[in-house]
């Protein structure tokens, strides 16, 4: 249908399938003889039809949460039996810290928090969109892992070679963070992430 291709352009086929344009005589004639274009058109029509008729409802959130819990409640604990479990305490929060002299408050930007234990510090950065990232300082973190968990959301990620981790934007809520390190499990029991 052009000097480059004997077939109808995909955009035109989508227009025909989506009934955005009336089919010209030339296109109808081509479709009646070209199996490539007619089969392509049929696939587009079927796909659009299936999307438009997709009225599958989402299961209630409570059912999904229960299904998620199946794993947590039944999986054998992966924590090493000799691992020490410690709770980290908050030692710095940029939301509550007064800005340094001559600096404006940084509350409009991200939030920085530092949690400390005897052996390791955890630096957390939370963006205004609730993207959570951070780094473990002062501890070895080979094969380390970080879990982030609230009533309605949970995610897990591995630490990289610099002991850093990051999560995409997470829903607002109260989170528990667990950092799994060799021989050590560090808990941050409560982190509020606002809307």
């Amino acid at each position: 249908m052009s000097i480059f291709s004997p077939h109808i352009p995909f955009t035109t086929l989508v227009d025909v399938a989506d009934e955005n344009s009336t089919t010209s005589g030339e296109i109808s004639e081509h479709l009646s003889t070209c199996s490539h274009c007619s089969s392509q058109l049929e696939k587009i029509r079927q796909t659009i039809g299936l999307m438009r008729s997709d009225t599958i409802e989402n299961p209630p959130t409570a059912f999904v949460q229960d299904a998620r819990k199946v794993f947590r409640s039944r999986a054998p604990s992966r924590e090493p039996s000799l691992a020490r479990r410690v709770v980290a305490s908050l030692s710095f929060d940029s939301f509550t810290a007064a800005p340094a002299f001559g600096l404006r408050s940084q509350r409009s930007g991200g939030r920085q928090l530092i949690y400390s234990t005897e052996t390791a510090d955890i630096e957390l950065r939370v963006s205004p969109e609730n993207e959570v990232a951070g780094q473990i300082l002062g501890a070895t973190c080979e094969n380390g892992k970080v879990n982030l968990e609230s009533e309605s959301f949970s995610a897990s990620t591995s630490l990289n070679e610099l002991c850093e981790f990051s999560f995409g934007a997470v829903p607002a809520g109260t989170y528990k963070i667990s950092v799994h390190l060799p021989g050590l499990l560090v808990d941050i029991p409560q982190l509020e992430l606002g809307p």
Partner: protein, 187 residues
């Protein structure tokens, strides 16, 4: 690139909870739709939903073809749905049929498939498209959702405003997104 079912199942076997959650996100609508389309109410469908995922957890080391997890879940959901339907019917009959226990009546109930194959195939196709859609870039996901997943398609003026673009560019973008979607479906 989204992980395959096989990759997710293997990760679950190794104790990765995040992969379990991805599997639930991927299949929750399909698994829930099967009992619902078979006529079970929300609570009953919830019971089937829970049973399917508990069974998946218990059997995940025994699934010989992890790349056929989709078929395994559909079959399990159908079976659990059928069992619940049959039990319900038997109990109803037992209530009106004095002198027989529910179990005795249950044994006489005819084995009827809860869902016609055509309906099931449609559900599976719709699930396949949803999965492919989730692998598209966010812009394409948003556009195709606004165009095809709403009871009334969004007008071009609303889409143009949502994308900060002109109405004239929506047609070509829609075609580009649909082309990518079809390519993913053919993989």
């Amino acid at each position: 690139m989204q992980p395959t079912d096989k990759e997710l199942l293997i990760a679950c076997r190794n104790g990765d909870e995040a992969s379990w959650n991805v599997l639930i996100d991927r299949y929750q609508r399909l698994v829930y739709a099967i009992p619902r389309r078979a006529g079970l109410n929300e609570d009953q469908a919830g019971e089937v939903f829970q049973q399917v995922f508990v069974t998946l957890f218990e059997k995940m080391h025994e699934i010989n073809e992890p790349d056929r997890l989709h078929a395994w879940l559909v079959t399990t959901a159908r079976r659990k749905t059928w069992r619940l339907l049959t039990k319900e019917r038997a109990l109803q009959t037992a209530n009106t049929d004095e002198g027989h226990t529910a179990e005795e009546v249950l044994a006489t109930v005819v084995d009827t498939a809860p869902l016609p194959d055509e309906t099931l195939m449609r559900l599976e196709e719709q699930h396949r498209i949803r999965t492919a859609l989730a692998a598209l870039d966010p812009r394409c996901q948003k556009l195709l959702t606004m165009l095809y997943y709403r009871p009334v398609p969004a007008p071009y003026s609303e889409i143009a405003a949502a994308f900060g673009t002109s109405e004239g560019s929506i047609g070509p973008t829609r075609a580009r997104c649909l082309k990518k979607l079809l390519q993913l479906l053919e993989q």
